[in-house]
């Protein structure tokens, strides 16, 4: 993973509590976080906050596949946030696709993590998503580009937390692969997630302007 691979800008939207603009390779998304605020009575939960993730395409309406991405992001965000600290509120995360050239899910997840951290909402841990493709010769390519994804037999997106022990949060896979390949992918992605966390640390260091 090269220096130029990940780029991020925090707090670029004025009216939201937190925002992040993250590009991973050639894919770019922007995320805004609003809340915690008072929801409609029907959505209100008396002992915890509800997390609402909306995904927006660059053009056109969202598809069933996009709804699935929303679901993955929602469960991952909800696990990371300390929802018990904000009862009877809603936290709304809006993810806007800016450019999709492969690895959209991992870009969205990493951007949402930065957005949530920028908003100052309490979190149990951070998370980093890494995608990899498995070729016919069982080679594993980390952060593949579009052509590599299309020619691969399997495509995996794995999300890890920055805890001391290895903690797999989310696993989204397509295609066929053996158990051994899956374990190999996990090892490789876990090593790559460390670099993403180092990047997060760098971004936070840059953004904390305190006197």
């Amino acid at each position: 993973m090269s220096e130029e691979f990940l780029k991020c800008q925090l707090g670029f939207l004025g009216n939201t509590e937190g925002s992040a603009y993250l590009s991973q390779g050639k894919s770019t998304v922007s995320v805004s976080v609003v809340g915690p605020f008072e929801p409609k009575a029907s959505k209100c939960m008396y002992d915890r906050a509800t997390v609402d993730v909306t995904f927006r395409r660059k053009t056109g309406s969202i598809t069933v596949h996009d709804k699935m991405l929303e679901g993955i992001m929602q469960s991952t965000c909800e696990k990371a946030l300390v929802v018990e600290q904000y009862p009877r509120t809603t936290i709304v995360v809006t993810v806007q696709e800016m450019q999709d050239r492969g690895n959209l899910l991992s870009t969205c997840l990493n951007a949402s993590c930065m957005g949530l951290m920028n908003s100052g909402i309490a979190m149990h841990h951070l998370y980093a998503a890494v995608s990899c493709a498995v070729t016919e010769k069982e080679e594993i390519i980390l952060n593949p580009d579009e052509t590599q994804i299309n020619s691969s037999v399997a495509y995996l997106t794995l999300v890890f937390a920055n805890t001391e022990t290895r903690c797999l949060l989310t696993s989204h896979t397509t295609g066929e692969f053996s158990q051994k390949t899956y374990m190999d992918c996990m090892d490789k992605c876990y090593a790559a997630s460390k670099e993403v966390f180092n990047f997060y640390q760098k971004v936070i260091k840059k953004s904390s302007i305190f006197n």
Binding site: E38, V82, R88, S119, G120, A122, M123, L126, Y200, S208
Partner: protein
Amino acid sequence: MISVDFNNVVLPGNDVSHIVLKGDNCKRSEKTIGPGLKSVDNKIIVCNGGVLRCKDDKYFWIEYFKKKYIPAKDDVVVGIVAAKTSEMYKVDIGASELATLPYLAFTNATKKNRPDIKVGNVVAAKIKMATPFMESEISCVEYANSIIFGQLENGFLINVSLNYALRLRKSNSKLLYQLGQMVPYEIVIGANGKIWIHSASIRTTIAIGNAILNAEHLEEEDIPQLVKSFNKSLNI
């Protein structure tokens, strides 16, 4: 594990127990953790990405960027009256819910002598009760030696981030003092990031508001420069 040092950046999920609980000169039970830290299974875990601060080797907290106000007891806040009911006002203090302000929670108010505040007016108040499970309750009752609460008239309201509001409230803030030497003004800084300013003319009020907004990301040394240009803009 990423190593964490004093006055250094920490991320949510980092374990800082080795920093917080180190040293024998202070007992474990005497350590106090504040915002951004929580204790899980005898470990101190970070909740918010920011800078770990410490005072007297005893108090630990995280300083992090925050825009959304979460009510805390005895905070002085500035709010906008959003609605009126038969018994109380609903005041927008920038929290997740509107706060309640009973008609009787004013100095010298009685059942017959009601305060005359309309929807849209700005009030300064103190938080009487704050739990995440209920609407917070605020009060404008003044006690001996307390600061002046109640309606704020003819002013101008600006919003800043919570970190900046807290920084301005510190007594060593140079900016407010130096602006005051140029032109007299009144200011109320709420812990919720709302700042009310009032001065002799609208022109100076707006100039002061702009100066405060512009100084958010300035170093302490650069403030005299800003005040100089502020003075220039007044004399045009």
